[in-house]
Symmetry: C2
Subunit: 211 residues, 2 copies
DNA sequence: ATCGGGATCCCCGATTCGGGGGACGGCCGC
DNA sequence: GCGGCCGTCCCCCGAATCGGGGATCCCGAT
């Protein structure tokens, strides 16, 4: 018994043609059956729902529908498909967000391509593959290093703060008093462990808590 | 006369193995001679200086040495090599910075791979290739929409500001007075057209003027 | 040689911020 | 039903910031 079991079925999605081709080609040569390719999130979701592959290897950043949201939806409609994220970088926010979106694995684009095969095989086998580098990040974040949870209101305020509005102006915009804005800002600063409102905004931006 | 002129020589550099393979493979099939491949900026620069290819297709973000800085150095040591940037996205900051770094072209990773060939050929022929999408951005930015140029000092100050330091603390850190810090902040605010220091930091972060 | 820009420093008055406190209603979960 | 979180609003006070001036020095470009 060697190469004669049914091949793993896989959908590949990436908005970069080069990546899409390379990945699909490589996996195919490794004996994995590429049942579909997609260039954006929506297309990927369609293909996954149509073909119900064992594995879907998707880019995180794609037009129309990002990898995370794609995973979230595919999780509901096609739970038997394991979603693997193919990402160029990994920060805690992405990691944790993807985790509870039901993602079954991470592969870094910097990693050797052989890792792709291992990841796909792991995912198909039901286990989870996480890139070693990301695993480190993950470990660090689970050892008490969880990133703060901002409320919607706090994000609203920080967002406007980042746009240069004063407390007063933000209050007018959100139909609340400047005092309340101050409260939100201070609570956000507290959560973000920031000494100044500016630092709070910078941290929120860097951690992608606000856009 | 068709396929029998000397092939264009090209170095390809990308830290993502998938991209590196795909691009090199594709260009090779298009009759372009790939004289070297590199996985990071330093390696790329070495290869370029050794092989002096007509074209070097390099990723913007690479370990050790980014594409822009690579272009800047290669421009001095090997001016006969045309540097093509292969980038996943294009914002004005990147575009303008790359332009005066001597970059000879841009290709988006989202673009069809055939564009790669055209870009390489254009670059080899001495002209400049810019991805249509980026060309749009470029046009928009040349119609008075140029993004601000911050001085090193201004970036330093904004950087520390983003870390929550006060003027006083920044001054201590940079061995200048808090008053001078204020001046830099105000000039940066001025350039960034920001109403508050917080907005200045947010804009600088978003436009990647500071990290 | 002049001119501009960058970096440095200073003063002022008005406003805002940071950090502390308290308060009230609503909603959700236990 | 009660505690806890969220969102809202208010007070005080000292410190910092804002926006507007002006000033000096040096270097590189013209």
């Amino acid at each position: 018994m060697s190469a004669e079991k049914a091949p793993i079925t896989c959908v590949v999605a990436d908005d970069h043609p080069a990546v899409l081709e390379a990945v699909a080609e490589f996996l195919a040569q490794a004996g994995i059956e590429i049942v579909a390719r997609a260039r954006d999130g929506e297309e990927a979701l369609e293909r996954i729902e149509q073909r119900k592959p064992q594995v879907a290897l998707v880019d995180v950043r794609m037009p129309k529908l990002g990898g995370i949201e794609l995973a979230r939806r595919a999780q509901r409609s096609v739970p038997e498909t394991a979603i693997l994220l193919y990402t160029g970088y990994g920060d805690r926010a992405l990691l944790t967000e993807a985790l509870d979106a039901g993602v079954r694995g991470f592969v870094l684009k910097e990693a050797p391509m052989d890792d792709l095969v291992r990841a796909v095989q792991s995912a198909a086998a039901g286990s989870t593959y996480v890139d070693p580098v990301l695993a480190g990040t993950l470990a660090a974040s689970s050892v008490g290093n969880k990133l703060p949870q901002l409320t919607q209101r706090e994000r609203d305020v920080l967002r406007l703060l980042a746009d240069g509005l004063s407390n007063e102006e933000i209050g007018k915009r959100l139909f609340i008093s400047a005092e309340t804005v101050r409260t939100h800002v201070r609570k956000a600063m507290d959560k973000l462990d920031a000494d100044t409102r500016t630092q709070a905004v910078a941290r929120a931006l860097r951690d992608r808590l606000i856009a």
